[in-house]
Assembly symmetry: C2
Homo-oligomer: 428 residues x 2
């Protein structure tokens, strides 16, 4: 398989076998005749370069699942590990997913398990996270216990032959993330991080626009997720023992989305602030990606601030409408690069523009409108079911990983977050 | 004077002399009983700490000009150095400034000087930048030649005893910036960088809000100025010999405004991209300030992208409405830090919120509205005259520097930009 030298030949190869790409990009507008760089299982990656009028330039990584991931899903019974707020939202969303059914609640105490099961009409309850066996009545486990417990609970399920969807952050260290991935690969069991935003319609649309060259050659990105909380060691977000911290709780969104768009960064710099409970409460991060895209990320558990994603290129910019974890639209602004003109600033039009009245009108117009064109990409339900359907699709296609959220990618995101933490060190 | 130990005593001291602060912050809401940290001439700096209900925390540097900078200005005749587009905008703005009058155009060629003078009805034209003497018919020079020429032209004026307002970037290196400052101090001549945004009403309002504790303790900031241009060595922006580059041309805005709010950064990290003409075309910057505020900055000559400033604190965030170089409003969003609640996600309200209909309504609402409250702060004219009036006010008060834009601060901004360039090095 490695003899297939370019993405074009790869596409031809699978077309000959009547296997169609489902994740391939919009080929007519983007050149994909680039060497295949990475092969894992039946997924292939290559660098995309725009060959449109916007000129050449790195656009991100393309990938191609050499199988038909159509609309078909397998029916799945789900076990819910953990009964916190995120599990409640997840199960609320589950009903919108084709073929998926919550069948079992697993929790530390039978009491909270029963309360949770009752609220959602889930038939079975198991007490204790170690109670899972191959005979347990579920096909896929959704792991939403604290990050520090992810590895233990996920590996228990994997060893029982169950597929797993693990809440982000994937684990509380790179070493644990690797242990989970190794276990899943050894057992031949499907495993994916629940980075649900990668399956959100607006996020998909943003990525498609970027790959189609809608903003030209990408050069800049900014992502942020800041929210203000009362610091409290009893809150998982502030507890270093349970995998808290701004990065694990919030920063993982912009960081994971940037990995999704541009691959793992080649270099990472960061400053931050460690709070009294021992977790990083703030971070300001700079990233450099292959191909030269540079990006910044702000994240905070203690400050209200930016919450979004914006990609800037030579011919425009595209940004989320709505919060970074669950956007519901994209705002696209197109622009032709400005040429150095012979504008002396002395023409009638130029002089008129600097007068008080046109300036006032322009300010009022600016306060009433925003630049760019918004395209609605409303999510259905509460948006949590898209990742569930991805699990069903992958299982139907016999994949052990989703091409959209591979295990290597989850590990790479963990590595980036570890590097950020290292750079922050003891800054207070 | 250095015996005055705290800002409170300083205020009392000058009150006793019937000299009133004009740049002092809103004292009833902010504690200023902190040691004076820096004294230069008649300006004093101290650290501000909020003592309001939002809890203690670093808010930025306060400063206090120990003189009455009232509304009075001295009448000034201006010489315009350079006849490019920026000079045209500046002179268009000048007519809105009290007491200021453009009296002389100085340019390399008499031809372009005459054309410029004619367009604005400026009575005098001088050919050649070396023609200036003490007898030249102006009081203040506005230096808008390429950055690489700033030091030469400014120092010539300073040595002729003329006040100078120097377009940003202040110079093309830290060494040149120091030479300008040294010359101005040696001659006892007024000198200021034309960082006009520091005198813009919306920017002033944003800073006042931050200092009054409107967003609580500041922890995060993001500033950006990205615009897409055709790379062209004939364009000053892309010419390393004339002081081009994304930082000097655009990045100087967010960097200078962050200095204004939080002082010089204690640490700087950056990635970027150097173009074919040899200037940095892109930068993604992380900054750490005294007191722990962390910030990111994106700037680009080649990409459309973010263009704004946002400050995030424990109790809210405040951002510019309008572009970072000339905002016309502020958007303030207040929020109480979230406490870890007993919310199980199983209550009726929580479950209802996750249903499809409320989620859909919330998305549509989000597309139609934006969070926060906008306060209009329209600028008059084209906004360029505020800095001119500051020059007039400072001259009336006998100041050699503006407390809002000191020479030390201009040098510090240059130092930060040099550090960023150093970090970027040869990245392409």
């Amino acid at each position: 398989m490695r003899a297939i030298a370019s993405a074009t030949r790869l596409v031809e190869h699978f077309a000959a076998q009547q296997v169609h790409p489902c994740y391939a990009v919009n080929e007519p507008r983007v050149g994909i005749d680039a060497p295949v760089e990475r092969i894992r299982g039946r997924c292939f990656w290559w660098k995309l370069r725009a060959i449109s009028a916007t000129g050449p330039g790195f656009l991100g990584y393309g990938h191609y699942a050499a199988t038909t991931l159509g609309d078909s899903v397998v029916d799945t019974r789900w076990a819910i590990f953990g009964t916190g707020g995120i599990s409640a939202k997840f199960v609320s969303g589950l009903r919108h997913a084709k073929g998926a059914k919550p069948n079992l609640v697993v929790s530390r105490s039978a009491d909270s398990g029963r309360r949770f099961a009752q609220a959602f009409g889930i038939p079975e309850v198991a007490e204790g996270y170690d109670s899972v066996t191959a005979a347990s009545p579920f096909d896929v486990a959704y792991i939403a216990t604290p990050p520090s417990e992810h590895a233990r609970h996920a590996i228990a399920c994997i060893e029982a032959g169950k597929a797993v969807l693990i809440e982000k952050p994937f684990a509380s260290s790179v070493a644990e993330a690797r242990r989970i991935a190794d276990a899943a690969r050894a057992q031949g069991v499907f495993c994916m991080e629940a980075m649900w935003t990668r399956f959100n319609p607006a996020a998909r649309r943003l990525r498609d626009l970027v790959r189609e060259g809608a903003v030209g050659e990408v050069r800049q990105a900014h992502g942020a997720f800041c929210f203000t909380n009362e610091p409290d060691a009893a809150n998982t977000s502030f507890d270093p023992q349970r995998g808290g911290g701004a990065l694990a709780q919030l920063g993982v969104y912009p960081i994971s989305l940037l990995h999704w768009l541009f691959g793992a960064p080649e270099d990472v710099a960061a400053f931050g602030r460690t709070g009294d409970t021992g977790v990083e409460e703030d971070a300001a991060i700079s990233l450099r990606f292959a191909g030269g895209v540079v990006a910044t990320v702000n994240t905070s558990l203690r400050a209200l601030g930016d919450n979004g994603l914006r990609i800037g290129g030579t011919h425009g910019s595209v940004a989320f409408e709505g919060p970074i974890f669950r956007p519901y639209g994209v705002r696209l602004q197109r622009m032709t690069p400005r040429r150095k003109g012979g504008d002396t600033g002395l023409g009638r039009k130029a002089l008129l523009r600097e007068q008080g009245l046109p300036q006032k009108l322009s300010q009022l117009h600016g306060l009433l409108t925003r630049s760019g064109k918004v395209e609605r990409q409303l999510f259905a339900g509460n948006g949590y079911h898209y990742q569930v359907e991805e699990v069903g699709r992958c299982l139907a296609a016999g994949l052990k990983e989703s091409p959209e959220m591979t295990l290597d990618d989850s590990i790479a995101v963990m590595e980036t977050m570890d590097t950020v933490r290292e750079r922050i060190g003891g800054q207070r």
